[in-house]
């Protein structure tokens, strides 16, 4: 492969623009099955860098490799966009939170039983980091699983003084009894 081959630069560009992490020279070399010298690769990266000169993103070398990043001049515009997009919690996070709020103290296993799917660690972590749930003890069953409950901060965020003020939950009762019946039997 020579540095001039027309597909190399667009392939490098596509790889770098679609990667969440910076890519090392070794990774970039993996893109091409023919033997590519590191020198050739560098030459192509430099071509790519010049191609982006003056635009909103720039090809940059950081500690862990090569990546595109936004230039400072476009940030004022981009930040306007961010302001409009209100971040939201996923369904998994909201449902987990609801179970902990209404059924505390609960273990991860309880949550999984009610939701019917595995509760991923990031979901619990998201809520813990936010300061809305915390470990309140451990259930005295094999494995001693952690019991979770909501925090004062959670009530503060909802503008409530106590859990009693959460909206009524009666629509669940019948179904939930059935769940507990099956899990305890």
């Amino acid at each position: 492969m020579t540095a001039e081959e027309s597909f190399v630069v667009p392939v490098l560009e596509a790889a770098l623009l679609t990667s969440a992490q910076p890519l090392t020279l070794v990774q970039l070399r993996q893109l091409f099955d023919t033997d590519v010298s590191l020198a050739d690769l560098r030459k192509n990266l430099s071509t790519l860098e010049q191609l982006w000169h003056g635009r909103g993103l720039a090809l940059t070398q950081v500690a862990s490799g090569w990546r595109f990043q936004t230039q400072s001049w476009v940030r004022p515009w981009l930040s306007r966009l961010e302001r409009e997009v209100e971040p939201r919690y996923s369904r998994a996070v909201m449902e987990t939170l609801a179970i902990i709020a209404y059924r505390q103290p609960v273990t991860r296993g309880d949550i999984e039983e009610i939701r019917g799917v595995t509760v991923s660690s990031p979901v619990i972590k998201t809520l813990e980091e936010r300061g809305w749930i915390e470990q309140v003890g451990q259930r005295e069953t094999p494995g001693r699983p952690a019991l979770y409950g909501t925090t004062r901060e959670f009530l503060d965020h909802l503008g409530l003084q106590s859990l009693q003020q959460l909206p009524a939950q009666d629509l669940w009762e019948a179904g939930y009894d059935a769940v507990t019946a099956t899990t305890t039997s």
Binding site: A14, L17, T18, S19, A20, Q21, L57, R67, F68, Q69, T70, R75, L78, S79, E82, E86, P87, R88, Y89, R91, M94, E95, L97, A98, I99, A101, Y102, I114, R115, G116, R130, H157, L158, G159, L160, Q165, L166, P167, Q169, L171, W172, G175, Y176, A178, V179
Partner: protein, 271 residues
């Protein structure tokens, strides 16, 4: 349609370590292959389609007797080897037999032009299933994000002030309501297809009958929400009768059916 397009591809099956890529032309399949064979199918419609296509038959002109014969042979083989058979296969067996019976029965007078060919409903279902099966394959082949294409997703270096989602109490309540709704909907579907084997239901019925003299057939069906459950109960009762474990008594014509445990009396005679 060419033959190639009709070839069914059920990859990955292995019998005793050997790849099982082609199915035998005749009906006989070694018992250990049988289960794997049936596992390759998504249900009775899929199996029927396979049988039709294997013999390069036209779906619109299926010979019920041949098809029923072949289908029943598979089902019988599965049951003979006491392999678990999903209830849906039995429902289909019943349907095929019923259709065949209707063909055999002499029909009085001229055939009503408006009368629907009894095969029609089955043919329609087979065609609709085949269409959706093809659609699934087409969907599988469409370019997909993360497999065939990727998105421009430059992680922005400028980590702006981290913005947290805000929620209200209604959001929590709403999530809770959604959960309970889903629970309510899924409760009825917790019985999976492998749960429905006739033998299991036979045991269940025997247990119900232990400690009581008889039960109405209708009461046995309590809690059955699906047709296949009813069919399995029915087949289980028939099987129990065949094995002389229970008897079914009907006092008057079209009256309720009583299912009674058969017990030996003091003289060793079956009551």
């Amino acid at each position: 349609m060419t033959t190639e397009e009709l070839t069914f591809d059920y990859p990955g099956a292995k019998v005793k370590g050997e790849a099982w890529s082609t199915w035998p032309k005749d009906l006989y399949i070694p018992p250990d292959a049988l289960e794997i064979f049936l596992d390759q199918f998504e249900g009775p419609l899929d199996l029927l389609l396979y049988l039709i296509r294997k013999h390069e038959l036209d779906i619109l002109d299926i010979q019920l007797s041949d098809l029923t014969h072949q289908y029943m042979a598979y089902v019988a083989a599965m049951r003979h080897h006491q392999l678990p058979l999903a209830a849906e296969y039995l429902v289909m067996a019943a349907t095929l037999i019923e259709l065949k019976a209707r063909f055999l029965l002499p029909r009085p007078g001229v055939i009503d032009a408006d009368e629907e060919d009894p095969r029609w409903r089955l043919i329609q279902r087979l065609m609709e299933y085949e269409r959706m099966k093809n659609a699934a394959e087409m969907l599988q082949q469409l370019p997909r994000q993360g497999r065939d294409f990727w998105l421009g997703q430059v992680a922005d270096e400028v980590a702006p002030v981290r913005r947290w989602p805000r929620i209200g109490r209604d959001d929590v309540h709403h999530a809770w309501g959604r959960l309970s709704e889903r629970w309510r909907l899924s409760r009825h579907h917790r019985i999976t297809r492998e749960a429905l084997s006739v033998r299991e239901f036979m045991i269940r019925i025997l247990k119900v009958l232990t400690g009581r003299s008889s039960i109405l057939f209708g009461d046995l069906l309590q809690g059955c929400t699906r047709r296949d459950q009813v069919v399995v109960h029915f087949m289980a009762v028939l099987e129990l009768v065949r094995e002389s474990l229970v008897q079914v008594v009907q006092v008057e014509v079209l009256g309720p059916l009583h299912v009674t445990l058969k017990t030996a009396d003091a003289n060793g005679e079956v009551m």
